[in-house]
């Protein structure tokens, strides 16, 4: 019990990291897209918990709301919209590229092993204080993020709103029923 209490942070991290990797493997191996989407949803939630552990509380909330609430609903909506008829499960994997993926996995493993063996574990624990301070007063992470976002990073913030606008227009254009396709129905696919 003492071991559990004194090593709580480590145990928590390793459990969450294992669940994250498990969810990621589920996303790329499950054949049914709905199952993969649910696996991705779980991964998003666990990553949000990891954000909280890093004292990024505001981003954890944004992660849950935007990813789990917005993007995943969009994914599931599209999966339902295109129907399972077109999702041929027997053609789930691109088999000629699996050796490439295996080689890549081995290289990544070598990278991790070198990090562990060479002992390059970066020391130093950050302070949560700096992430919660506004003008020398400790308020909270949300206040601090808002303060930095609307002063130092105001111009990038405005620019990124244009990115969202362009994406919105692009999605409307792609999703619109195209008159050209209607006129040439049957010619394109044959």
């Amino acid at each position: 019990m003492d071991f559990l209490i004194s090593n709580f942070a480590e145990i928590l991290f390793y459990v969450l990291a294992g669940l994250t990797v498990l969810g990621s493997v589920g996303v790329i191996t499950l054949k049914n897209p709905v199952h993969a989407a649910l696996s991705l949803l779980g991964t998003f939630f666990i990553v949000a918990v990891l954000f909280v552990l890093q004292h990024a509380e505001f981003l954890a909330a944004v992660q849950v709301m935007v990813y789990a609430g917005g993007i995943m609903v969009l994914f599931l909506f599209v999966i339902m919209l295109v129907s399972v008829r077109g999702l041929k499960t027997q053609a789930a994997f691109l088999s000629p590229l699996i050796p490439v993926a295996v080689i890549g996995a081995i290289l990544v493993g070598a990278l991790i092993a070198s990090a562990v063996l060479l002992g390059v574990f970066a020391s130093g624990v950050g302070s949560a204080e700096a992430l919660q301070t506004v003008d020398g007063v400790t308020l909270g992470n949300t206040e601090a993020v808002g303060m930095v976002l609307y002063t130092k990073y105001l111009v990038p913030f405005e620019v990124v709103s244009v990115v969202l606008l362009v994406a919105m227009i692009g999605a409307i254009v792609f999703g619109r029923k195209d008159r050209f396709i209607e006129e040439h129905e049957g010619e394109v696919g044959s």
Binding site: L74, A101, K152
Partner: protein, 100 residues
């Protein structure tokens, strides 16, 4: 003690899994989900460094990454709808019109 390297290794594993998913899957929807995994790995990296350096810039950059990920998801899913309407498929190999 949990150091930044722990988070970087986790981020590396997640990024690689997403990359493998993008490479080997043939279903367009699953490829997009793997891309989301890659974005999340990047965010984890940024947050880890933000905490260690005591600098909020990493968290701000992560917000921008989330914004771009949302834009990418909207465009990508719009493309899926267009592809389904045109060819009634979401398998990437079937979309080979530009191959001569």
């Amino acid at each position: 003690m949990i150091t930044a390297t722990h988070y970087l290794v986790l981020s590396l594993v997640m990024f690689s899994l997403g990359l493998i998913g993008v490479m080997v899957r043939r279903n367009f929807i699953t490829v997009l989900m793997s891309l989301e995994l890659i974005f999340n790995a990047v965010n984890l990296n940024l947050i880890a460094f933000s905490f260690r350096l005591g600098d909020l810039s990493g968290q701000i950059l992560a917000i921008f990454v989330i914004t771009v990920a949302a834009a990418e998801a909207a465009i990508g899913l719009g493309l899926i709808i267009a592809l389904t309407r045109l060819k009634d498929t979401v398998i990437l190999d079937d979309a080979s019109e530009m191959r001569s």
